[in-house]
């Protein structure tokens, strides 16, 4: 079932005398229980799409739905937790105030108890009564994430959630996202940090010039990132197999081959006296694939 559906969105912005086409027929959906990564270069339309889904920007044409409700209907956001890019909050209030405010906007019962639990999870308990103007950028991201979770949402929409976080902060976010997804929360997030997307997403959308140009699920990612294999084999004699094997230690050899040569190489090894010890995939990063796709 689709939790979010984006259907043929078009959006043009006018900046002084220039007209910028931000979205040019953006369409995709987010299925229940998945973590969908939204990947694209600057200006590809990621943030505009997210803002249309959250009704912060109105599309020129096309529609976005959350839980089958049009995104212009405020009720569509009842079960959504959202964190914008570089979140900004009223800086004269405390972290606890922000969580209680978020809770009241969703009519959450036991707001205080939930707020304390989230502050604890995001390691902010000792800053609960500190005004937000004194929070660091990383702390603002964490309190923003906590505020997005106060009402136990079914859908999380995060715009560059890990931008500007240190490695420990990113780890906390990723672990929390994985944990939430395991408990059934659907997550849709945009990011520039490709290893993070590769690490946690069950599906990735690649956008360019305001529309989706590719999408991959985990199997696709696994397939596309594997460009070949390294076969490790053991042979007792020193007879050459003519498979371009390289000795890596006494009696152990490695053969590098392309993906489509694997079967052929295995058969050749099995027909010899050598024995296969291990086969390991040779990987390239999602980043390389991303750049290849963009260059296409």
């Amino acid at each position: 079932m689709e939790m979010i559906k984006v259907d043929n969105l078009h959006k043009t912005f006018k900046l002084k005398l220039k007209t910028i086409k931000a979205l040019n027929g953006m369409s995709f959906d987010v299925k229940r229980g998945e973590i969908l990564g939204f990947l694209g270069p600057n200006g590809a339309g990621k943030s505009t799409t997210i803002k249309i889904i959250m009704d912060l920007v109105r599309a020129d044409s096309g529609t976005a739905f959350i839980n089958s409700l049009k995104s212009t209907n405020p009720d569509s956001r009842l079960r959504v937790g959202f964190m914008p890019e570089n979140p900004q909050y009223y800086d004269t209030i405390t972290g606890m105030d922000l969580l209680k405010f978020a809770a009241s906007m969703f009519s959450v019962k036991d707001a205080g108890k939930k707020a304390h639990k989230l502050l604890d999870e995001f390691e902010l308990t000792e800053f609960a009564d500190v005004k937000l103007r004194k929070y660091s950028k990383g702390m603002i991201q964490r309190i923003g994430f906590a505020a997005a979770l106060i009402h136990d949402p079914d859908i999380l929409i995060l715009d560059e959630p890990m931008g500007g976080l240190d490695p420990v902060g990113r780890m906390i976010f990723k672990n929390k996202m994985k944990e939430l997804n395991k408990s059934g929360v659907t997550i849709f997030f945009s990011s520039h940090i490709i290893p993070d997307i590769e690490d946690i997403c069950s599906r990735v959308l690649i956008v360019k010039q305001g529309k989706t140009i590719k999408q991959f699920d985990r199997v696709d990612i696994q397939y596309l990132t594997t460009y070949g294999f390294n076969i490790i084999l053991r042979k007792e004699d020193e007879k050459n197999l003519n498979l371009n094997e390289n000795e890596i230690s006494k009696g152990l050899y490695s053969i590098k081959c392309k993906k489509d040569e694997l079967i052929e190489k295995i058969e050749a090894i099995e027909n010899s006296s050598a024995k296969i010890v291990d086969i390991e995939p040779l990987k390239k990063s999602l980043e390389d694939i991303f750049i290849e796709i963009l260059n296409d």
Binding site: R58, P84, I93, D97, F101
Partner: protein, 261 residues
């Protein structure tokens, strides 16, 4: 309700707002100032109290309105709030009512301070006029309505503007025009026969489009204990409600079309 509470909490801890609120302390100087008037201490203290109240409410309206609307949008606080399940209409009205509450509380504080300073001034030199507290209260209340209406204009200009200056200076222009409109209209309609019918019609149109702030002015009624007709209060209140309704509706309509990109 949560948004109203948050807005008030955010505002009352704001440094600019605290500086403006501290102008209430100027009431302490009113008896001294009135003393220079020789024999009209009571009348001057009433006039000065109402003028100071008007000045504080004007600053609060201009800066409060700008802080609540323009700054919220400029600093992207609106992203957080509008991503919750509330309508933009609800957002604008909550922000507006937050400021109305603050303006009302400040009016009450100013009125309370005025009671003290008018008593002190009146005790220094006995006036031949009685102090009509109901008139003074009515004058304070009408000032509150006047600035609530002006606040509506700040919201209207901030609903489409991305700059700080547009809402502030446009509202100041409306304030000046709204205070002068009655006098200019009377002058054109009664005083001069040289103007063409078209010019008079245009003046009439501008007069009806601009808010008429002079109808909210009861300072002379309060200072000189003149009788206030309840009918004029009712007419002004109805005018206030209709005009404010129109300005807020327009603000909401514009705000509903706005992109937060």
């Amino acid at each position: 309700m949560a948004l109203i509470k948050l807005t008030i909490k955010h505002l009352i801890f704001d440094r600019i707002f605290l500086v403006l609120a501290s102008f209430v302390l100027l009431f302490a100087f009113i008896p001294v100032f009135s003393y220079f008037s020789m024999r009209q201490l009571q009348e001057i203290s009433i006039t000065t109290s109402l003028t100071l109240n008007s000045f504080i409410l004007l600053l609060m309206t201009l800066f409060g309105g700008t802080l609540v609307m323009w700054r919220d949008i400029e600093r992207k606080y609106t992203y957080t709030v509008l991503s919750y399940p509330i309508t933009r209409t609800n957002f604008i009205l909550s922000k507006f009512f937050s400021l109305i509450i603050i303006l009302f509380v400040i009016t009450i504080i100013n009125f309370a301070a005025s009671i003290v300073v008018i008593h002190i001034s009146a005790s220094l030199y006995k006036s031949t006029l009685p102090i009509l507290w109901l008139n003074i209260f009515a004058a304070f209340f009408m000032e509150f309505l006047k600035y609530t209406l002006l606040l509506g204009f700040i919201f209207l200009f901030a609903s489409f503007s991305t700059s700080f200056f547009t809402p502030v200076f446009s509202t100041i222009a409306v304030f000046i025009a709204g205070n002068a409109s009655q006098g200019i209209y009377d002058y054109i309609m009664k005083g001069s026969n040289e103007l063409s019918h078209f010019s008079k019609l245009a003046a009439k149109l501008v007069y009806y489009v601009l808010p008429n702030f002079s109808s909210f002015d009861l300072i002379s009624y309060a200072a000189y204990s003149l009788p206030i007709h309840i009918q004029s209060i009712v007419y002004t209140s109805v005018y206030f409600l209709l005009y404010l309704g129109a300005v807020l509706s327009l603000s909401i309509a514009v705000f509903n079309k706005r992109d937060f990109s």
